[in-house]
């Protein structure tokens, strides 16, 4: 057991180191390179200089948001994959992202975002996500029992329906709205509003803490629902609470940053390969690694074809997918 504790400490250290490295790189690299050695002095007494405002007003918010969203998405992924015992489930499988996309598109074509700038889009995205969560939840609850396999199918179908509706909206909307919707769908960590950044960060950290109340139940659930009942887990209650946590995480993520795919699929899967099934370590290390991964991808998105910025979802997809296939081939036993 000693050996296990040291293994756990090691994997937390590794994922934290990855997170810090990604954060530091992301602060230094960009259209204006700032050497890492100068960063601290700029932050301490460079107030007013252009370098200070690049760091604090442009790069830092993205890093903090990347931390919150990357962590949130991969945490949601761990929870859902554990709950469904299906490695292909990710936060967007449940249709929550589709709901958010639909909400935002409606907000854009109704021009609500001009009425209340900054807040209207995330808010309508969140309302869309919330409606889908409630819909999925009530469709799949029969006589107090939450039917988890149906959940997956309903989620996928709701995704299809909402993406069709989004395409319908795209087809009938005018050019300037079209740009706004597509931009949102591509996903970006650019967020001018500090309040939203802090809301997202607080919420995802709170969900991380909350999820630890259920880590042993999730371990038992990895043997299947029946075995978990045999081990004394109140499966019905725990499934609902876990679904709630995953939904909040996903809802907040998509409404603040739009659709950033793959983080919630790849990172949990990858961490499971490294640290094993035990959710006591899996939850935290996935959160850290997911945060680092998204910050890193966002940095690449900014510099690959600078000064034009790529959608970060493109980078997460390409990098995540390739690393994943490579790792899967190396460890075919998984």
């Amino acid at each position: 057991m000693k050996n296990r504790l040291s293994r756990w400490t090691f994997s937390i250290l590794i994922s934290s180191a990855f997170l810090v490295a990604a954060g530091a790189l992301s602060l230094c690299i960009g259209s204006a390179g700032i050497p890492i050695t100068k960063i601290i002095s700029i932050l301490l007494d460079g107030r007013g200089t252009s370098e200070y405002s690049i760091l604090v007003d442009i790069r830092l918010p993205r890093i903090i948001l990347g931390f919150a969203i990357g962590g949130a998405l991969s945490l949601a992924g761990v929870i859902l994959q554990g709950m469904f015992r299906n490695p292909l489930v990710e936060p967007y499988t449940l249709g929550i992202s589709g709901g958010a996309a639909l909400g935002t598109s409606i907000c854009i074509i109704l021009k609500l975002n001009r009425l209340i700038p900054d807040i209207a889009m995330p808010l309508s995205g969140f309302i869309g996500a919330l409606l889908v969560i409630l819909l999925v939840y009530f469709i799949n609850t029969r006589r107090g029992i939450f039917m988890i396999q149906g959940l997956l199918l309903t989620g996928v179908m709701i995704s299809f329906i909402s993406s069709s509706l989004v395409i319908l909206i795209l087809a009938i909307s005018r050019t300037e709205d079209l740009h706004g919707i597509i931009f949102w769908i591509m996903g970006s960590l650019e967020e001018p509003n500090w309040v939203l950044i802090w809301v997202a960060t607080t919420a995802s950290l709170a969900c991380l803490a909350f999820s630890y109340l259920f880590c042993l139940d999730m371990n038992a659930l990895s043997l299947g629902e029946e075995e978990a009942i045999h081990l004394g887990v109140d499966v019905e209650k725990k499934k609902k609470l876990l679904f709630l946590i995953a939904s909040i995480l996903t809802g907040i993520s998509v409404s603040v940053t739009g659709l950033i795919g793959f983080v919630g699929l790849i990172v949990p899967h990858f961490m499971r390969m490294f640290v094993g099934f035990d959710h006591r370590i899996l939850l935290l290390s996935s959160f850290l690694a997911g945060a680092g991964f998204l910050i890193f991808c966002d940095m690449l998105a900014r510099i690959v074809i600078a000064p034009i910025e790529l959608p970060v979802g493109v980078i997460t997809g390409i990098i995540g997918g390739s690393i994943f296939i490579y790792a899967l081939n190396k460890r075919s036993s998984f």
Partner: protein, 265 residues
């Protein structure tokens, strides 16, 4: 210890077991036998609360199971089920999961006594050398032993087993049933087991419960239940019941079609 009164249940609106009354005493070694689809597993699932009773109640030490906290139940009743989970964890990690109901709220790590219980369960089942092997890489018999070890780690008073010897060779069959018998004798562990093999049931169990069409057809000692009249009626198959010369327990022999013709029956 465990009492079922007028218990009916099934899946959805379909009733599988119908008005069952059964009383199981502390320290008993009870075996449920019967043809496929007779409701054996359903009865077990009702006891372990995988399915809720449609009618009737189950009492554990006089208290209705519905009113007992689920973790409380898991500390008293452990299940060795038939569908083996395919998981990539080591045998020891798997057995440790048996401690789940014993963790206190906000307790994240197992303490000394948890580890002691787990190590004891592992040594009782004789799987020490497998501790660090992956569950997905050990043989069927070893998986069964690990399942039993996990159940023992719950420190139960009642052990429920659903065909623990299915698909195993005779060495493992005897090993596993000897182990369960020992636990039953040494620790007064109440055992409720489903077996398809009537001869194993006859050799090891104090009391047999013969089920057919969701009802209990007969219950009693192996000598009382295992006779060709009752068995032929329930299983619709010709059998011959002899005695095991060493243990004096009934021994059920089947008769193939060709032999039947040969004997003129």
């Amino acid at each position: 210890m465990l009492k079922m009164s007028d218990l009916s249940c099934g899946y959805g609106t379909k009733i599988i077991i119908n008005r069952i009354n059964l009383h199981i005493k502390k320290g008993e070694f009870v075996c449920i036998i019967g043809p496929n689809g007779s409701g054996k597993t359903t009865l077990l699932k009702a006891i372990t609360r995988i399915i809720k009773p449609a009618k009737g109640n189950i009492f554990l030490e006089g208290r209705d199971l519905n009113n007992i906290d689920k973790r409380e139940i898991a500390k008293k009743m452990a299940v060795v089920s038939q569908n083996l989970p395919i998981v990539s964890m080591t045998v020891k990690e798997f057995v440790l999961l048996g401690r789940t109901p014993h963790y206190k709220t906000l307790q994240l790590l197992e303490n000394e006594s948890d580890i002691e219980v787990v190590e004891h369960a592992i040594s009782m089942t004789g799987i020490e050398r497998l501790q660090n092997s992956l569950m997905s890489e050990i043989s069927g018999g070893e998986v069964q032993l690990s399942l039993i070890a996990r159940a023992l780690a719950q420190e139960p008073w009642i052990l429920l087993l659903d065909e623990p010897t299915a698909h195993l060779d005779i060495t493992h069959q005897v090993n596993i049933l000897d182990l369960i018998k020992r636990l039953n004798k040494d620790y007064q562990l109440t055992v409720i087991i489903i077996l398809h093999d009537l001869n194993l049931a006859s050799e090891y169990c104090d009391r047999l419960i013969l089920m057919n069409n969701g009802q209990i057809t007969k219950t009693g000692t192996p000598e009382e239940v295992l006779n060709s009249i009752d068995l032929e009626e329930v299983y619709k198959t010709l059998v011959v019941v002899e005695k095991n010369p060493l243990s004096n327990k009934p021994f059920v022999l089947i008769v193939p079609e060709e032999v039947k013709k040969h004997c003129g029956r």
